[in-house]
Amino acid sequence: MLGTIGATIRENAPVDAGDAGHIWVVGGLSLALAFALFFVGSRFTVLPLAAFVVTVGYGWYAHQAGTAKGLTLLTTVFAVLILVLIVVFLVARSIPAFSYMGIDILTKTSKPFWNTSGEEVYSLVPMIVGTLTTTAIAMVFAAPLGVASALFISEIAPDWAREIVKPGVELMAGIPSIVYGFIGFAIINEFMYSEMRLPGFGSYIAVGLVIGIMALPTVVSVAEDALAAVPESMKSGSLAMGATDWQTMKNVTVPAAFSGVSAAVLLGVGRAIGETMAATVMLGHTKLIPDPLYDVFANGETLTSVIAFEYGNASGLHMSALFAAGVILFVTVLFLSIGSLLIERRMERKLGGKA
């Protein structure tokens, strides 16, 4: 990656002799120095930062085109840099927990699971089971309904219905997760406690239901883009052969958009895995593995809720275990999103006629 960045800088650097090249060098160096000083927490960070601002100011006045190009290149590198920093810092802070627990952090299935004082034990297995259970329940709810709604919006709905449903789905995406969590906490947990006579407040199935509602708009919008991208000629050809609209959808449109729809479901899974606040306020935060495994009324913990719930009192090894949970979350969602990106790229090539 450094090689490509270097190559891009060489490609785009100003070739005309004169101050523009010097501006790039001075500006880049001062910004790098400022970042290094910030990294070590020095008070003198502001000095190279001021130098950078002055350099950019002079460059804007004297060689605007070259300076603008340099600035935009900097911002692009910065976007990549943030991701690299996140990975580095997350992994660095989680290493103590990984080295203390070894592979047990991912495989310990016997009690005690989580002991924050004395003989410290940190096993992430109950949290992983919780995340998987809630995500599975959420997707059972969100995937079929999401694909059906995407079909409705892109194929079935008349124009007036589309104008209502599409903003409605975007509105669902806009409601903050803490509001969903509060409604789940105040309404759904009470309902399940009184009607289904649960021993306590909170269960995986209630959390799964709420997370499913939250993941639904993600699935709908990406699947709808995928279905709309199917070429009109394919659908018209099918209709011309005498097939009904539904037969066309079932046998032509959906199979053609299959990669996009599966990318949509993958992104929905990623969204469900990363959902924090609803799980944190609705679950009971006991570290357990449900017995039997399919007991969806169990009240436990997910990877996200353990971080949000315990960050305040955590220090040392405990904090490192929370960072370990964060690393697992990050890696899982990263794989899911890269997977769906690759699937979407493949679909673009296929439908564009190049594959």
Binding site: V179, D245, Y311
Partner: protein, 521 residues
């Protein structure tokens, strides 16, 4: 879709067959809505509506649907009614009805008759297999109606015969929860009415491909309607529950709403309010936009105007996608690890602004790239033909043309950022009910030693609306218990948060419509 299918070449009168089928669909939808109301506890099961208990109404609806559907199927098979059925109903209805038969047989054998494990498995398999055969082998009109009708009549009989009545409960040692009649009856009725509606819609379409289309479209339409009604019920519910709290002690004639204008705790506060949280959210949004928008737009400009489409752009796209899908709590952890130690080792408003700007950045990059890409090449070519340099073109032609899309994307992104809790929970917030509000503008002062400019307000902890709601839930106490409970304070905060976020979204959507109209005009 092709316009040809929408013109009406031949108009038929509605036949009696279609009327009966439509009637079944209507009864099914009414039963579905009634059962949903029962599940959500808008009506109690034992309550009497129109003289009969609600659960009896379920039973009557189910039995009526079953009998009418059977009549439609038998009538078509006997040639009395005319339709267009296929030779067989197909594997999908067969599998669905077969699975239902399996479950019914197993449950009846094991629970009602108390038979042992091998016996109820045998009973379940035989009933499931029989129903599957009944669906798949006869002609479609019989295969898609009779199994559904028999299931509906069976369900209706179970309900009307008080097999599952008020007070019934079922437990199994495997699951922690108890299935009570209040939950099971409405759920079974919902499932039954969906099946009945599906079969009746197929009959309405005259079976065959157009019948299956009618059935599928009805089910999809019903599910979309269900999703949207959940949304509407949610929003209306929050407003109804939150409005009394928000209007506590309010004097609308003088535009005085203490809940919005007061701080949350303190000696002189009569009605605790959420002003610190509102101001915190406003400063958070301002700081986030100031940091993220220039960086995002700059990166988008470089990616679309300067860079060659190659390895570098692919790497940046991958990184942007990675940032976009990272869970919000991971951003909070990163802020906790990287920013907080370097900004005074305590929660601060600045740390919250920086973390949220990292979350907003990928969205700004993606929407700006799309907006800049959608500026037609003709603009750039015309500008180049006039002798304008590359940068001047970007500055005065491309960016202004792309601005509407960028603004819309930023507003929608801000709407999402304003509702985020997890990152600010870890890096910015501290007290549940703050005494004061962040004083950013008047906080700037010069110091004699580096870093020469300091702002106390930026480096102190602050509150925000989503955090205020979370803190109210977890603290479980109200700042003024005699005025409202913790729960009521939470509803009021939730309503204000919804108003802010939905307001931002509405502005974003309206601006998108406005700019689209301006472009197309």
């Amino acid at each position: 879709m092709s316009q040809a299918t929408e013109s009406v070449f031949v108009g038929d009168d509605t036949t009696g067959f279609e009327r009966v089928a439509a009637g079944v669909v209507g009864v099914g939808i009414v039963t579905f809505l009634l059962a949903a109301a029962g599940l959500l506890q808008f009506v109690a099961l034992g309550q009497s509506v129109l003289g009969t208990p609600v659960y009896d109404l379920f039973g009557y609806g189910l039995v009526a649907m079953g009998v009418a559907t059977a009549g439609l199927g038998i009538g078509t098979r006997a040639g009395v009614l005319s339709a267009d059925p296929d030779d067989a109903a197909g594997i999908l209805p067969g599998t669905i009805f077969g699975a239902i038969g399996f479950a019914t047989g197993g449950l009846v054998a094991s629970q009602t008759f108390g038979l042992g494990t091998p016996v109820w498995i045998a009973a379940a398999l035989s009933l499931g297999g029989a129903v599957f055969a009944l669906t798949v082998f006869p002609r479609e009109d019989v295969g898609s109606t009779i199994p559904a009708a028999s299931f509906l009549v069976f369900l209706g009989g179970v309900v009307l015969g008080d097999v599952i009545a008020v007070g019934w409960a079922w437990t199994t040692p495997a699951l922690t929860g108890t299935f009570t009649a209040e939950v099971v009856l409405p759920l079974l009725t919902v499932m039954g009415s969906l099946i009945g509606v599906w079969s009746a819609a197929k009959a309405y379409g005259g079976f065959g491909p157009s019948g299956r289309q009618a059935g599928a479209f009805l089910l999809i339409g019903l599910s979309v309607f269900g999703i949207l009604s959940v949304l509407v019920i949610l929003v209306v519910f929050v407003f109804i529950k939150g409005l009394p709290t928000v209007l506590t002690g309010a004097d609308l004639a003088q535009l005085e709403i203490p809940f919005i204008m007061n701080v949350s705790a303190g000696l002189y506060v009569t009605v605790p309010g959420v002003l610190p949280a509102i101001l915190g959210t406003i400063w958070l949004v301002v700081g986030t936009v100031v940091i993220a928008v220039p960086i995002g737009v700059g990166a988008a400009v470089f990616l679309t105007e300067y860079a060659e489409q190659g390895r570098f752009t692919q790497v940046v796209e991958l990184a942007t996608n990675g940032l976009w899908s990272t869970p919000s709590v991971v951003f909070g952890l990163f802020g906790l690890a990287f920013l907080v130690p370097r900004l005074g080792n305590a929660p601060s408003l600045l740390a919250g602004q920086i973390v949220l700007s990292f979350m907003l950045l990928p969205l700004v990059i993606i929407t700006s790239r799309e907006s800049i890409k959608s500026v037609p090449d003709e603009y750039r070519d015309a500008s180049a033909a006039l002798g304008v340099s590359r940068w001047e073109t970007i500055k005065s032609v491309v960016l202004p043309a792309a601005m509407p899309g960028i603004i819309t994307g930023v507003i929608l992104g801000v709407g999402r950022i304003a509702g985020e809790t997890a990152p600010i929970l870890l890096v910015m917030t501290r007290s549940v009910f703050p005494f004061g509000t962040p004083n950013v503008l008047s906080g700037f002062r010069f110091t004699t030693s580096p870093p020469f400019i300091a702002n106390d307000a930026l480096l102190q902890s602050a509150s925000a609306l989503p955090y205020q709601l979370y803190a109210t839930i977890t603290a479980g106490q109200s700042p003024r218990p005699e005025l409202f409970t913790a729960r009521e304070f939470g509803w009021g905060t939730a309503m204000i948060l919804l108003v802010v976020v939905l307001g931002l979204y509405a502005i974003g959507v309206l601006s998108r419509i406005y700019f689209r109209r301006k472009l197309n005009a």
